[in-house]
Each structure stands twice: as C-alpha cells, then as structure tokens.
Symmetry: C2
Subunit: 328 residues, 2 copies
C-alpha cells in the first residue's frame, strides 16, 4: 500500500533566517538543518516540498536593478522569470542536500529496493485569474527600498509599476498577489510521484501565469502566496496531509500577550470561529493569516490534516505529538 | 511502437542572437522561432531539449557583481547556483512557449489521446571528476570583462579566482571546463520520458558537481560544455539521435575560404580523419570543436545519428534532407 502523501511548505526561515543576508553558506547550513528534519518524515510519508522565496527574489531583483545601469547595462527580467530563477536556486540546494542525505542514510526506493529515493525539482507555473481583484490592488511589497528620487525615476521609466511609501523605511514596489487556481505542471508532478521520487515544486508560490482565451498561459508580474499555492498543489496531487513549517511551534490564541495559549488541535470549524472572533492576536496580520486561510481551504477541499509548526517538530507534529493540527 | 528519441542541443543563438543584449523580448522572440522548428520534429520523435546559457549566466554573474557593493551589499552566489538559475530562466521560457504551441496545435499525447503532449524542466546536476585536468588549467572565460584595476581587486578578494588577459578586450575570469561523466538526474528524466513528456534538461551543460568518496555530490565552480553534456544526456537516456543546432547550415571543409564545401553526410571514421588532417579550417577552434567531439563520442557510445545544422533545418536534417549527418 502506498504511504500517505504530505506536501511540506517551507517558510523563508528554512533557507534564510532573521537578519541573515542570504549568503550561500547561510542558505546551505539552514537547508541542511531543514533537510535533516525532512529525513525523519520520509520513512512514513511520500513527500512533496514547496518553499518561499522572498529574500532570494528580493536579492535577485536588486541585483538586476544594480546591473541595469552603465557601464553594465544588463537587461532586467520580469518577475515571472525572476521567480523561475529562484525556484532553481533554492530547488537545486534542497535537491542536492536532501539527495545526498537520502543517498547516505535514506530508506530504499519503493520501486527498486537496491536504489535510494531520489529528488527532483520541477519548474512550476501556477495559473491565476486575469480578473483577480488583486490585479487592481497591488499589495505585496517586493525588491529593494528606494529613496523618493529613485522611486520617481523608476515610475517614469516603468509607468506600469506601483511604488508606495513603506512607513519610515522608504519607497517600495508593490505587485498583485492573486489567488492560485491550478498548478499547470500537475501531471508532471503526479507522474514523478508515481515513480517514487521526492518532488520539489511550486517554489515561491509558483510562476504566476494567466490563461488566455485559447488556453495558452502567459507569465505576469505578480507574487502568489506560497502557502496558498502549496494548498493548491496539495489538492491537485491528492495529498492527505499538508505541513506548513514556519518559525513558531504552534498557532497561539492571544499571541504575544500574557494570555497566549498554544493550540494542539482544532477542527476547521473551530479555526473559523477563532478567526471570526479575532482571538489569534496581532501576529495574525503578518504571515500567519495566509497559513490559516490555506489550512481552512485544504480541509474544505477534502484534505485530512494540516500541521503548523517549526521544521524540527514536523515529524512529531504529523504524529499528533507537537505543533498545531487542524482537522475536518 | 515508441517513436525514436532525439536529444536537441540548442546553441546560444536559439535564445540570444549575435549582438543582442538578451532582453526578455529578444529571448521570447528567438525561443518562439526555435520552438516552431521543434514543433516540426515532435510528430515523428520523442524529444529531449538541452541548451546553452553563456550570455544568460554572463549577465547574471555581472548583475550579482554589480549588486555586491554598497549600498546594496547583496551576496554573490557561486557558479553552480548561477548555472541552476539560468536552467530555470531558459527552461521556463522554452517550457511556456513550447507548451503553449503544443496546446494549440500539437499532436495528442501518446498515453492519453484526449490530452496534448506537455513539457517539463528538470534542474540537472552533471557529475565531473575532481581529478579532471581542467581543474588545474581553467580555460573557459565567464562573466564580465574587467579593467586591470578591477581584476587586481577581485583577485585580492577571491584568491582562488583565475583572471587572464583577453587580447585587447580587458581581463576576464576563466573557470575549469571539465568533461561530463554522468547525468545525476538520469532516472528522473527517463521516468518523465516514459510518461510521455517532453523534457528540458541539463541546461548550460548542467550544474557541475563532483562525487565525494561517500557517493554524495557537491557543486563546483566550473562550466561544462553544453554539447558534450548533451551527448552524455543522450547516451544516459538511450537516445538514437542527437541534434546539435547552431548558426551554420552544415559543417564545412575549409570553412571561411573560397574552397569551402559543406558536408552532407560522413561516417565517424571520416570525421576523425578530417579532424586529424585539420581540413575543417580556422573556425574549428571556436565552438565547432566541441560539437564534432560530441558527435564522435555519441556515435562511439552507440548512437545512430548526429545532425549538425540550423534550427530551421533541423526537421529536414533528421530526414537526411539538410544539414550535416554523422553516422557510424
């Protein structure tokens, strides 16, 4: 019988922590730590990995900007291409590091017990609607901070760019963050899963593409939330489990107050009630919001279990011994 | 019966032509032209695509360099990671453009006639020997040109870098160009081929990795020739045909002289004899050398046919009606 399938969504801190600049050494060290935690999950689950790319795509956009002036004059590429590039940057590192761990100490492959399980990274496009209201209201900050003068110059060169003031920190470009509708490479990912591989897919929320009237797809300047895209991925490949790994051991009620209480387990209805009452506390407006939304969608889309926890507690959380579990 | 398999190696001009800077619009236009030519091959062959990345990785290294100074101070990533990133940059564009053409006008998929053939890009590591003599003799120029002062500064910051003078054009970093030994993601590529997908793999010659004593692999600062890596790929996936697409319609004897004669067909022995006699002419020292070497290796490794031609002649060349064909 096939082992259950889990989609693991790695937060940015799995690659670049807190105040790190994201040097290669830092990323390799962090990914090695995360990969060791994933190794504990692999004996009991088939695994698909997705991941954020915020700091990496920010660095890349800044580097392209820096290289666009004389004497360099190198062309700046659009956000869909930058997103693709970070899928390979991070995918390669996870594929290399996790692949090495599997080779030296992993369980045997399901299809050929003389072989070890292998890893593969798929460049993934994710379909969004061209009518998504996010395109009329860009809200996701991306790339470097600018001075007022730089912001004015960029807006005059790129009339389609929206640049807003970020309180006290300068000016920054914002792009639409549309809802993911479908994973364009679903069949390719399913095929690799059937063949027994660990698949890394939809990194950075996937490359956002809109569907034209003739069914073709076209990249757009946008960023898809990686937990919401991970949820789409989990549903499209019929995963029973969705593990959202971040920098907190559990979801807390009244987070960051003396009354903070970690939640071990809740139903999706309890979660919706908590959200309606606004009892999660101030942190909810940050990155926890999309995670809880992704959890609700996954259970409503037929998923069996969502866990939210730190990478080092993920294996225990999947057994109900740590983290927060959300069930139907 | 399965259609024969062809590995198509796209030269740099399939993405960025001559004096182009490599803007997005240029790359999309060039890749669209190339994809239309590949569409003519797909009805009769199963297809794997590999491609160069010279201008793209040069741009990326320059952008990283430009972003590494104050006020940006973004970390520069090593060449293996840059190589991975260009696999996704180019892979995404080919996957998107060719995937769209297949969707609107392609033949049905072998496994599900209600579906169209789909495309997938695999981040590919290619194993090289750590004892390869190329590591003692770096010869492949990469990245931007420097002034003498810049070159001295870089060498003092990176004592392991080798920078040489490039006659009249400034100073430039050179890196090793080791021989490809094996495609690390061979099984993943074969699995996708069996499932009926068109696979894009080993872009830019693949991410060069050396094998440690324990069998794990580690990225190195090097560049693998993309035609030689394409040959390894073709052998590792048992392709009968290897198509090297470049900017010449045929291989010429006495190239660039009044006596130039295009070759329609030759055996591998004739090719070796021509090489020994040095009758190809001066162009051989450029990019044609590795192509002819890759052709010889492919036939000696058991391949049935190599064609060398322009993209627009590729379909005809595979039928023996254009280009240069090399056979056992």
């Amino acid at each position: 019988m096939l082992k259950p399938l889990v989609v693991i969504a790695l937060g940015g801190n799995a690659m670049i922590k807190g105040k790190q600049r994201g040097t290669q050494e830092e990323q390799i060290e962090n990914i090695t730590e995360t990969a060791k935690q994933i190794m504990k999950i692999i004996p009991n689950y088939r695994v698909v990995i997705t991941h954020g790319n915020g700091p990496q795509v920010g660095n890349l956009m800044l580097q392209m900007e820096a290289g666009s002036y004389p004497p360099h004059n190198r062309p700046v590429l659009s956000m869909d291409i930058c997103g693709a590039m970070t899928q390979a940057q991070i995918g390669y590192l996870i594929q290399n590091i996790l692949g090495n761990l599997l080779y030296t100490e992993g369980p045997p492959s399901r299809l050929d017990p003389k072989e070890k399980i292998k890893v593969v990274t798929i460049i993934t496009q994710v379909i969004v609607s061209k009518d998504d209201p996010a395109f009329k209201n860009p809200s996701k900050p991306v790339g470097p901070f600018y001075t007022r003068e730089q912001a004015d110059k960029i807006t005059s060169e790129h009339p389609d760019f929206v640049i807003i003031e970020d309180a006290g920190r300068g000016y920054r470009r914002v792009v639409p963050s549309p809802d993911p509708i479908a994973i364009h490479e679903k069949d390719q990912i399913n095929s690799l899963l059937e063949a027994g591989f660990i698949v890394i897919a939809s990194g950075g929320g996937g490359i956002p593409v809109i569907k034209n009237l003739d069914g073709t797809v076209k990249g757009v300047e946008a960023v898809i939330d990686k937990d919401l895209a991970g949820e789409r991925l989990a549903v499209d490949i019929s995963a029973e489990n969705f593990a959202i790994l971040t920098d907190t051991d559990k979801v807390y009620l009244d987070f960051n107050t003396p009354q903070a209480r970690g939640i071990d387990k809740m139903t999706v209805t309890e979660l919706e009630n908590h959200l309606e009452k606004g009892v999660f506390g101030s942190k909810l407006k940050g990155s926890m919001g999309p995670k809880l939304e992704a959890a609700i969608r996954f259970i409503k889309d037929g998923g069996k279990k969502v866990i939210i926890t730190r990478p080092e507690l993920a294996a225990a959380a999947l057994e109900g011994k740590a983290g927060t579990t959300i069930v139907p």
